[in-house]
């Protein structure tokens, strides 16, 4: 298998590798099913509103929309299971096995390995949030330098991850209510409905406000981020969002002398200090 280049140059701009084809397909399925589930679920949650019947009619109304909802719910759950398998496989094959052959295994080492995965929240995230708040409140002039995945992206990953567990489980209970109530009392369906619809509203608002702002609508990215399609992030955005990772990749690729300074503020302040 050809290794994907870490940096591609196109029209004089450097593009940095972010997501594999496999990950991009997973994201596409995730996005498509989440949007469909929101569109076929929210009219039911807000059935009293004036827009609900029209949106619901678009998906075939009360007879077809629930079927579509279940089909895409099943796709999303299948994706979730696949993702877990994929995660375990990738970590095992590319990290645990090499470690085994190099230095041997112990529980402590594996746990440390897991804790150091790039998407696991760590102390730097807490520091970055603090630094960002200072920057946003005009108390400092620098945005924190992001690592491979910033705390925002970790939020984007773990919030739907938790949501998927809650919404998926409660969705399965309501879908198979007769089977579920062989074991649990009927009131569990009440709680399932509350958790399913309220958590879904939270997830939808989170994704459509927070995730879309950071990935597409922020002034730095507007009108649309393209890394989810191409898998590559342009140099400008790497510097803006992932400066630590940027420096690391440039160094690995032997381009130390071409590393550009962090965006705007560091140098700009010294240059424009007189005006401020």
């Amino acid at each position: 298998m050809n290794k994907t280049p870490a940096i591609k140059v196109k029209n004089g701009t450097r593009f940095f590798f972010r997501f594999t084809v496999n990950q991009r397909i997973q994201h596409f399925i995730l996005a498509l099913s989440v949007v469909t589930l929101v569109l076929t679920g929210m009219p039911l949650k807000f059935s009293d509103t004036s827009w609900a019947p029209y949106l619901y009619a678009l998906f075939g109304g009360i007879h077809a929309a629930p079927v579509i909802h279940k089909v895409f719910g099943a796709i999303l759950l299948a994706l979730f299971v696949y993702h877990i398998v994929y995660l375990v496989y990738v970590i095992y094959k590319f990290q645990v096995l090499p470690m085994k052959s190099k230095e041997g295994l112990s529980i402590g080492k594996v746990l440390k390995l897991l804790a150091n995965q790039p998407l696991v929240p760590n102390l730097k995230d807490a520091k970055d949030i603090g630094a960002l708040m200072k920057y946003l409140l005009y108390l400092s002039t620098t945005r924190p330098d992001g690592a491979k995945y910033t705390w925002k992206e970790k939020f984007d990953y773990w919030a739907p991850f938790w949501g998927m567990v809650v919404i998926g489980l409660t969705g399965l209970i309501m879908w198979n209510k007769e089977l579920a109530t062989m074991i649990v009392p009927g009131e569990v369906i009440n709680f399932s409905l509350i958790a399913h619809s309220d958590e879904a509203l939270l997830a939808a608002l989170f994704l459509f406000i927070w995730h879309w702002y950071n990935a597409h609508f922020s002034e730095a990215v507007f009108p649309m981020g393209t890394a989810f399609i191409t898998g590559y992030l342009p140099e400008e955005l790497m510097i803006e969002e992932h400066y630590e990772d940027y420096v690391e990749i440039m160094t690995q690729e032997g381009l130390e002398h071409e590393i550009r300074p962090p965006h705007g503020t560091h140098t700009a302040v010294s240059e424009e200090g007189g005006h401020a």
């Binding site: 946003l136 007769e178 406000i209 002034e219 705007g264």
Partner: protein, 353 residues
């Protein structure tokens, strides 16, 4: 033929007779119920009067609508029995329990809704208590017209199920033996309307909501829930709002299958469908959730977001509200600050030392 005055008069007589016949034949088919010629006046849309209480009362009768209602064959005088002459005195309110001029075909007795009264008096909606004394707030108890109006026919078409309503193909089959168009049309409407409900689940819920969603009545009678509101929070209620006809409404659960809907009983009554020992039979019946276990029926249909009525569900919901607000508000705050910060990327508040 020599035209004489006599033959002219004779022909004129025949023509007038023919016109009269045509008019009467025409009117007979349209004003099936209007033997007393009430529509002579009541056909005018503006016909109204301000009564003693100052309310404007409309007396217009739309004959097209009336002729498509379940009472199309009942003559005006059948219900307004106090009207004997035209013009008439102010008519009394209609008593639905009188015998009307329709024959009930199976017993060949005069038709009456009197049996409904019997069931209603033995139900939770009776105006009297067990000992025959008037209940407290007896004026809140429903009588016929609080729930019923004159419903329209809702004919069903099964023919290749392409169109709703009257199936032309079925009418064709009726015409093989039955010759009177009016009879065929009415009989088809009557039978197929009765094969399902004359109101859809949403309409049924709206009828019950008149009292059971009224906070004052709910409080006065110590009812546990605003029943139609809480029903509307369930999947059944939401599907009803999207005009699903297959979904259960109030009557499907609160009346035993095959019994009169007028005989609604308190849930404490062991005969009631909603008594705790019978509740599972509602859900697990063959038409609904036949594979469900009795535990299924412990689902709280009428749970409200209310710390007194359903405390556990209240705090469970509150947790999600706090979680949603606690997650989104700080993040939206960051987005807001970020938007402004990007306008002034170099601004900084310098601290004085």
């Amino acid at each position: 033929m020599k035209l004489t005055v006599q033959t002219f008069r004779h022909n004129l007589y025949l023509i007038i007779l023919l016109i009269c016949f045509l008019i009467s034949a025409f009117t007979a088919s349209v004003f099936a119920a209007d033997i007393g010629n009430c529509l002579l006046c009541h056909k005018y849309p503006g016909m109204s009067r301000v009564n003693e209480d100052g309310d404007l009362k409309l007396f217009y009768v739309n004959e097209d609508i009336f002729n498509n209602s379940v009472h199309a064959r009942v003559k005006c005088e059948g219900c307004h029995s106090d009207v004997k002459k035209i013009p008439h005195d102010p008519a009394k309110k209609v008593d639905c329990l009188i015998e009307c001029h329709i024959m009930e075909p199976s017993t060949e007795k005069k038709f009456s809704h009197k049996d409904a009264e019997f069931f209603l008096e033995n139900s939770v909606h009776s105006k009297n208590d067990k000992d025959g004394n008037l209940k407290k707030f007896t004026e809140d108890m429903p009588s016929c017209k609080d729930c019923h109006d004159n419903p329209l026919y809702r004919p069903l078409s099964f023919f290749k199920t392409v169109r709703y309503g009257v199936s032309e193909s079925s009418l064709g089959r009726c015409r093989v033996c039955h010759k009177k168009e009016e009879f065929i049309y009415r009989f088809y409407n009557h039978v197929t309307t009765r094969l399902h409900k004359s109101r859809n689940p949403l309409n049924i819920a709206e009828v019950c909501a008149r009292c059971h969603n009224n906070p004052e009545i709910v409080a006065r009678h110590n009812l546990a829930t605003k029943a139609v509101y809480s029903y509307g929070e369930t999947f059944h209620g939401k599907a009803a709002k999207f005009l699903d006809e297959r979904i259960p409404d109030c009557l499907d659960c609160h009346v035993r299958k095959g019994e009169s809907v007028h005989q609604m009983l308190k849930h404490e009554n062991p005969l009631s469908s909603t008594h705790k020992d019978n509740r599972d039979k509602i859900c697990t019946n063959m038409d609904c959730h036949p594979s469900a276990s009795p535990k299924f029926a412990t689902y709280s249909v009428h749970a409200e977001f209310n710390s007194v009525q359903s405390p556990v569900q209240y705090y469970f919901t509150l947790f999600f509200i706090v979680l949603t607000g606690g997650t989104l508000l700080p993040l939206m705050g960051i987005i807001f600050l970020d938007c402004i910060r990007r306008l002034f990327p170099h601004a900084v508040i310098k601290r004085r030392k």
